[in-house]
Amino acid sequence: MWLFEQIVEFFSFQDVNIRYVALGTLLLGASSAIVGCFTFLRKKALVGDTIAHSILPGICLSFIVFKTKDPLMLLLGAMLSGWLSVYVVDYISANSKIKPDTAIGLTLSVFFGIGILLLTHIQHSGNSAQAGLDKFLFGKAASLVQNDVITFGIVSVILIGTIILFFKQFSLISFDVHFAKTIGLSVRTFEVILSTITVLAVAIGIQTVGVVLMAAMLITPAAAARFWTDKLKVMVIIAAIIGGISGIFGAFISYTAPSMPTGPWIVAVLSFIAIGSMLVAPKNGAISKIRKQNKNQRKILEDNIIKLLYKLGEKENEFFKNRSIRTLKNYREYPEKKLLKGLNILKKKNQVVLVNDLWVLTEEGKKAGMRIVRIHRLWELYLTTYLRIAPDHVHEDAETIEHIITPEMESKLEHLLDYPEKDPHSANIPYKNEKDINE
């Protein structure tokens, strides 16, 4: 009941503070997720991390120079040093043998070091006006006030507006830089615009979630959204929703348990959604991939066993003979358990029957086995005829393709090769209607 009351109290947004905090985290979560989609797609996921660490020296320098905590001046300093860090990473990796990831780690840690050096210097210098600068380290989401929300609102409008305006250009430089260059797009200009809005998003967001976790606000929603869709527009919208929901949820948790920090909870929720998406998303999720894999493996097992039964029948000229597991094992080195599993599936499909512990092919099973063998031999012939591969090199390839070829491809092959009778190894290619199959 207590939880329910809390939920009602929070989501009725009666309390002014709640309204500000919820709205602020919502705006922040959604807008940084939107910007993050592009950094994610450009494979620069860690650039957000670099910027987050690197804006600290700018903030401190701006405080030292202007002696004010005016948010606009601090933001200016933050933007400048954030921007510089992006440039430094590019410059180091372009002009030396240092690899990009080393350049990123180096830049972010050294910039952060300089930032902390300046921050501790300011703190120890006894200037009482400095109190509150450390919110750039850890973030203070729970203390958002009206002014912050207004700033967030303005920045979100700038960010989202820029992205809508240049959506086409941004998607081009995210997916195909070379194509963008060929059609005469000034790639450099749009890269600069994109970095600038990323820096802006980070400089604002960091005050809410802190240095370390800012990277997650950018990339985690984008990564989660990527699993659900292949369309950029849809991805941006899903990412924004995930970012926004996580923002509000984090705010709600620290409202019900005031000792709980908002930023880490936002990130915990985000990660939960991302890992969940990675598992269960319909097409790209890990579970559906594993399921697909298992299905394929089962099909291969079935095909191989039925093929074996058919070929034994072909060899001994007796298709419907009882055969023991041991006989089958002699020809195909499967563990007994696996063999039994495959046979049981085939039994359910009515392609084999079990008589006194011995396995017998049914009429249907014979047809299925014949089909696999036919495809195998047709393919071998195709490879030797059209690709001029030596007959002793084609078996392996046919062994894999026989599970994949569809009935349409099969009839195309038959047609192309003009219903041949023998494969390259002079074995008969069996057809459904042929009478002389048992000769």
Binding site: L106, L108, H121, F138, A286
Partner: protein, 287 residues
């Protein structure tokens, strides 16, 4: 005497980090090192909850475990989840770090870990520790002892495992062909990084330990092409930064660890500009 202990702590931490860093950047795993340094936080908190103190042994086990978990998760998200490498690094370490901070807030009454300390540590505390004498005639603060032992272990690992580390770094497929396990060396190195991170944690914090790992190695990499030389130069760069950083911090009345990172940045810039082989100014003059 306090200057001495602080500088010595800096030197020990930066030698350990600098040596490991060489292998990290050569294997293009600099950001994995960064991720580990953040992701050991929950390991530290959990170890603290179990043992009730900042004692070293449970802490090292906790950290090494989480270091290996981090590496494993990054690879899992990358290979099974189909997530690009950099994104899987970013998601893994922010997630684990968030869990760490949540755990600290959850058990705030039991866990005495300062938030500031998590990010940038406080090396000056080493001077306040009581001196312990493990070897007759030698007494030092416990942090110094721990860092010293870890440094010896890392040097030993590099000397005795040189062939394995070298091969798996430069030619993994050849290493695999002659029966050197890349997986074993990979996880061994990652555990070493986690352990070093955690013993340096109190002194330099999660982010500046990254500077100690990457900056000296990157500087040395610009100066030489030979691995043994690179290891020595990397260690020297770290030692110079420990001295320089201490005096810079005293002069500015600021954090020592941050000052060390700053000096490391200056050293890298100098190498970047003036290194005999790779410095961009030298290259331009030669042209």
């Amino acid at each position: 005497m306090s200057d001495f202990w602080i500088i010595l702590t800096g030197c020990l931490a930066s030698v350990s980090c600098g040596l490991l860093g060489c292998f990290l950047i050569l294997r293009q795993m600099a950001m994995v090192g960064d991720a580990i340094s953040h992701a050991v936080l929950p390991g530290i908190v959990i170890a603290f909850l179990f043992s009730g103190s900042l004692d070293s042994v449970p802490m090292l086990i906790g950290a090494a475990t989480f270091g290996v978990i981090t590496t494993y998760l990054i690879e899992l998200f990358n290979k099974k989840g189909g997530l690009q490498k950099d994104a899987s690094i970013g998601i893994t370490f922010t997630w684990l770090f968030a869990i760490g901070v949540i755990l600290i807030s959850l058990y705030a009454d039991d866990v005495h870990i300062d938030q500031d300390c998590v990010l940038f540590g406080e090396i000056a505390y080493v001077a306040l520790e009581p001196l312990i004498s493990y070897i007759p005639g030698l007494s030092a603060p416990s942090t110094v002892w721990v860092l010293f032992i870890v440094m010896l272990l890392i040097i030993a690992m590099i000397i005795f495992g040189y062939k394995g580390l070298f091969l798996t770094t430069f030619d993994p497929s050849f290493a695999a062909a002659i029966g050197v396990s890349t997986v074993v060396w990979h996880y061994l190195l990652m555990s070493a990084v986690s352990v070093t991170t955690v013993v340096s944690f109190e002194s330099v914090g999660a982010i500046l330990v990254v500077a100690l790992l990457i900056a000296p190695a990157a500087t040395a990499y610009l100066i030489t092409d030979k691995l043994p030389k690179m290891l020595v130069i990397s260690a020297l760069v770290g030692i110079i930064a420990s001295f320089g950083g201490y005096y810079l911090a005293v002069w500015l009345d600021a954090s020592v660890a941050a000052a060390i990172a700053t000096v490391l940045g200056i050293e890298f810039t100098l190498a970047f500009l003036f290194s005999p082989q790779n410095g961009i100014i030298i290259k331009r003059l030669r042209r």
